[in-house]
Amino acid sequence: MIEVSGLKKTFGDVVAIENVSFNAADARVTGLLGHNGAGKSTSLRVLYGLIKPETGYAKIDGIDVSQDRITAQSKLGVLPDGHGLYTRLTAREHLQYFGRLHGLSDDRIEARSEELIRMLDMQGIADRRTEGFSQGERMKVCLARALIHDPRHVVLDEPTNGLDVMTTRKVRELIAELRTLGLCVLFSSHLMYEVAKLCDDIVIIAEGRVVAVGSPEEIRAAAGVDNLEDAFVLLSEQAASV
C-alpha cells in the first residue's frame, strides 16, 4: 500500500508539485498520468526517497519515506527516471551488485537472477556487457535490477518510453503479471491509451496538481465525456487555465 498525501515541492521559484495526494493499493495497478513536466517524476522521486517534500508525506506500508528512508526503500522496487547502466558490467553483474546493496545473500541473488532472466526473456544477453545494448535490452536490465529483492511495491517511471513494440508489449505483460502476484504497482506515463489499458486506478496530474483520481469510468464521468483521452486533455487544459 502506497499513500501519498499533500506533497509540495518547489525548485527555486518554480512550484513543481503542490498538494499531491493519491493512494496505490496492493494487487492493483495504479497509473500516474500527465504531460511531460506535469510533476510525475517529482512526485515519484519523493516517493522513492530521492528528494524531500516541503509539506505532506509519502508512506510505504505505513512507513514515512522522509523519516525512515532506508526501511521504506527496502520495500520498493524502482525504475527511476534516470536509468543508466554500467557499460563494463554484464547484465547479471548488475543484478548481483544491486542484490548485494539490498543485503541479499549471493545464493539468493543467483536464484532470483535466474528467475528474472527467464521472466524478462534475457537469456541471450544475461552474460554480455551492457555496452551496445539496445534501448529494449537496457530497459530489461533496469527492470530486472529493480525487482531483484522481490519487492511488494513496484514504482516505474515511464517504463515504456522509447521502446519498440515488442519490448513495450513485454513490459505490459510484466506489469500485468506483477498484479496477479498481488503486488502494488504504480507507474507513470504520458500515454493515455497505455494507462487506460493497464490500470485499475488512474491519477491524472497536471501543472503540479492532481486533477482527477479514480477508475477509468469515474474519470470519464468526472470530465463528462465518453472518451478517456478527451477526458485527459480536458482536465489537463482546465488545470492549465486556472
Binding site: I70, V78, H83, G84, Y86, H102, C142
Partner: protein, 387 residues
C-alpha cells in the same frame, strides 16, 4: 560493512575493465625510471668532468706560458678562427679564450692584461668548464705575481690574507637526496594520478551516465556508498604509488651516482619506513578527488578540478625551496608536507623523530575520513542528482 564491500568490489571490477583508462593512469609510474634516468644522467654529466676538454683559443702564440698551463690541466688547445661571439651563440663551441695581440707588451710593462673568456651564461652545461678556465687563469695570475715579488726580493707570503675554507655539513647521502629532490614529488604525484580516473568515473561519471539515481534508490546509507568508492579509488592509487616508488628506487640504484662522489644505498629498513610514511597518501588523494568529482557540474568540470590536485605534491618542495627552514615536528602533521619531508629524509638516511610516523599518518588519515564524510553529506543533498 557489506555495502562498503559490495561497492568496493563493483568499482574495482568496473575500473579494472576500463583498459584504456587504466593504461593512461599507469603510464605515469611506468615513465618514472625513464624520466629519472634521463634527468640524473644529465645532472651527472653537468657535474662531472668530461674526458677531453677542448679549448678553442684565439692568439695562442701570444701567451705560450699560459697555454702551457692549460695543457698541463688537461685541455686540448684548438686554434679558433672567425667570430667567437657568433660561434658561442650558435652553440658550435662551448667557449672561446681570446689572448690579446699586445699580451707580451702589456705584460712587459706591468700593465693589466685582459684575457677574454667568451661564453654563454645562460647555458647550464658549460658552467663547469667556464669555471675551470677562469680558475686556471686566476691561478696563473697568482703564480705570476708571486714570481714578480720573488724577483724583487719580497716573500710571496705577504700576499696571504684571509681565505675561505670549505666544510660541508651535509652527508654524502644528504647531498644525493638533495639531488633527488624530485623523487618525493614523483611518488606522491603517482598517488594523485593513478586513482584519478576511477574517482571521476565513480562520481561525475556516475551522474553523467545517469546511474547515480538508481544507485541512490538502494536502501543503504550514502556514507557507505562513499566509503566503498573511496576504498576502490585508494586501492588503485596506492598500487600506482607503490609501483612508482619501486621503480624510482630501482632507477636510483642503477644510476652511476658515485661518479658525483656521492653514494646512495638502500636498506630494507628504509624501504619499510618509506612505505609506512606514504601509506595514507592515496587515501587522502582519493577522498579529495571524490569530493570534487561529486561537486563538479559535469565530467569535464571534474577532470579540470581534479587535474589541479595533481600539483599538490609539488607545493612542499616549492615552499622549502623559497623558505628553507629546519624541519620541526609540526610539519609532519601537515598532510603531503609531512610525507614529502619524510621521503626526503629517509632517502637521505637522516634520523626522523619517531613521533613523525603516527603524526603524519593520523592527520592525513583523519583528514581523508573527514573529506569522505563531507562527500557523504553532499550525496545526501538533492542537488547532487538534479544537475
Amino acid at each position: 560493512m557489506n555495502v562498503v564491500r559490495a561497492v568496493l568490489i563493483k568499482e574495482l571490477k568496473d575500473g579494472l575493465r576500463d583498459r584504456r583508462a587504466l593504461l593512461s593512469a599507469f603510464l605515469f609510474p611506468l615513465l618514472a625510471p625513464v624520466f629519472i634516468y634521463g634527468l640524473m644522467t644529465l645532472v651527472i654529466k653537468q657535474n662531472s668532468e668530461s674526458e677531453d676538454l677542448v679549448l678553442p683559443v684565439i692568439g695562442q702564440a701570444y701567451a705560450p706560458a699560459l697555454m702551457h698551463q692549460f695543457e698541463e690541466a688537461g685541455f686540448i688547445l684548438e686554434v679558433f678562427d672567425g667570430s667567437p661571439e657568433a660561434a658561442v651563440r650558435d652553440k658550435s663551441v662551448e667557449l672561446v679564450v681570446q689572448v690579446p695581440k699586445d699580451y707580451q707588451e702589456t705584460m712587459a710593462n706591468f700593465e693589466l692584461t685582459r684575457v677574454l673568456v667568451i661564453h654563454d651564461g645562460s647555458r647550464n652545461d658549460t658552467r663547469t668548464i667556464v669555471r675551470k678556465v677562469r680558475r686556471l687563469i686566476t691561478n696563473y695570475n697568482n703564480e705570476l705575481a708571486a714570481l714578480r715579488l720573488i724577483a724583487r726580493g719580497v716573500s710571496p707570503k705577504i700576499m696571504q690574507g684571509v681565505r675561505a675554507k670549505n666544510s660541508d655539513v651535509a652527508s654524502d647521502e644528504q647531498r644525493a637526496a638533495n639531488l633527488l629532490n624530485f623523487i618525493p614529488i614523483y611518488v606522491l604525484m603517482a598517488a594523485f594520478v593513478c586513482g584519478l580516473g576511477l574517482a571521476i568515473d565513480n562520481t561525475a561519471g556516475e551522474r553523467e551516465r545517469r546511474s547515480l539515481e538508481p544507485l541512490l534508490i538502494n536502501p543503504v546509507t550514502r556514507t557507505a556508498l562513499v566509503f566503498g568508492k573511496w576504498l576502490a579509488a585508494s586501492a588503485l592509487a596506492g598500487a600506482g604509488m607503490i609501483i612508482t616508488l619501486g621503480l624510482c628506487l630501482a632507477a636510483m640504484l642503477a644510476l652511476p651516482i658515485d661518479e658525483l662522489g656521492l653514494n646512495f644505498t638502500l636498506t630494507s629498513g628504509q624501504i619499510l619506513m618509506l612505505l609506512l610514511a606514504i601509506l595514507p597518501v592515496p587515501m587522502f588523494a582519493s577522498s579529495l578527488q571524490l569530493l570534487l568529482g561529486l561537486f563538479a557540474k559535469s565530467f569535464k568540470d571534474a577532470q579540470s578540478y581534479v587535474g589541479i590536485l595533481v600539483f599538490i605534491p609539488v607545493i612542499p618542495t616549492l615552499v622549502l625551496q623559497f623558505l628553507p627552514v629546519a624541519s620541526s615536528l609540526w610539519m609532519y602533521f601537515v598532510p603531503i608536507f609531512g610525507q614529502s619531508l619524510m621521503i626526503k629524509e629517509i632517502l637521505g638516511a637522516e634520523t626522523i623523530p619517531l613521533l613523525a610516523y603516527p603524526a603524519a599518518f593520523m592527520t592525513t588519515f583523519a583528514t581523508s575520513l573527514l573529506v569522505c564524510w563531507l562527500t557523504g553529506r553532499l550525496l545526501n543533498q538533492e542537488r547532487v542528482i538534479q544537475s
